[in-house]
Subunit: 276 residues, 2 copies
Amino acid sequence: MNKQQLTENIKRKKTFLCVGLDTDLKKIPEHLLKEEDPMFAFNKAIIDATADYCIAYKPNLAFYESAGLQGWQAFEKTVRYIREDYPDQFIIADAKRGDIGNTSMMYARTFFEELDVDAVTVAPYMGEDSVTPFLGYQDKWVILLALTSNKGSNDFQLVKDEQGEMLFEKVLRTSRRWADDSNMMYVVGATQGKMFTEIRKIVPDHFLLVPGIGAQGGSLSEVCIYGINKSCGLIVNSSRAIIYADKTENFAQAAKEEARRVQSEMAAELAKAGIV
Amino acid sequence: MNKQQLTENIKRKKTFLCVGLDTDLKKIPEHLLKEEDPMFAFNKAIIDATADYCIAYKPNLAFYESAGLQGWQAFEKTVRYIREDYPDQFIIADAKRGDIGNTSMMYARTFFEELDVDAVTVAPYMGEDSVTPFLGYQDKWVILLALTSNKGSNDFQLVKDEQGEMLFEKVLRTSRRWADDSNMMYVVGATQGKMFTEIRKIVPDHFLLVPGIGAQGGSLSEVCIYGINKSCGLIVNSSRAIIYADKTENFAQAAKEEARRVQSEMAAELAKAGIV
């Protein structure tokens, strides 16, 4: 999916919500454990319930890997299901990969050729040749970790260099030489509030993938005040608050209501910014 | 496996070689493609041929993920095979994972509970809470990326902070607060030569996992001059130069000869350092 298509979907559906499919066998409703493929059954129900209110899905690979072979199968089936039944959804493999060139190439093949997702999250620590193998695919995206939503983001990402530039700023500035806003986005946590102002100075036009609202406590309105740009430029993720809104047989309906609630907040933010 | 056991294996076998199982269906000998599980068949032959000359195996997950379900199956079978038939081998899942706390926890479960490997490589960018979930397991190890072997290591790892400390040094120094040399090691590329001197000032007693000899061009003797410590403290990896030493039906024999050649160099280095 290219940037124009993504932006059109946001305007048409009045939402920039991404639903994080952090599907944990220990947390899904018990009655689903009788299904042949409980993880996929859960995902399918969540997707069917929420697709009207979001423009992206983000399965986090950790949750699928931890279920072994069955988990990988559920991951593949989920991606295929979204592709076929909801072709206007942007699919993000939240994998946080990054390795030496020939190895990153293998990961890129996996995610973009075998699985056909739209975007992969990539960790920047190993630098240019760990990231560029993901960039050779038409209408596919790298989403580079910049300023993450967790407490540990303080340990290294905020360290200032000799010129006073923080590491995440250096990641933004340096990686702009590798790709532009047509195939690179950045992860910026919703918990980082006013940092969005600084970030928008460096990457005014790029899309930002924003985790951290919902269970992690970030504020959607604060993200919008400091982070929204003229074509929205935000994909805001919520995982646990939506998919585990309810743990009974009513889980899909509860997920739908929570997604709809977030969507209506987002519609208001888009209107406020003059985008819709 | 604990540090004492690992050190004893090194002294007994006079080697600190790790064989990297970067098993690529496009590179393994053609006759193996007829096997039911070609990746596992290749690994099994390589392991049987090289086990006398190494103390560790390091499958890189990228290569298995890129083969989808079959790849995961091959990965699991490989780990199980080493565990059962070569219990004195240290198994490193080269995964370069790292995510927010609850997600890193899922990865830790996968690698240490489901798969029972000895160590996982972890990327430091997201800081403490992305690393510590891997540290709660007896005799299991985090191998944190510090100074990698690739060209892109220059982009961020060598950036100096306001006190003149480079990022990889900060990673070493900061992470020493999270764990000690009984459950943390560091990745330092063999291509980084004299940097080992600086690194040994910060982490004199830790094991270092050293990729980059062989196909990547790093020098074993240079690594030893600057990096060896009193209990060796090095696990030096070679992947392609060993496993693809020959691409005919003779591949396992060729891998054995290359592993034996490296082992004999290592035996000489251990003698030179007075360790054996």
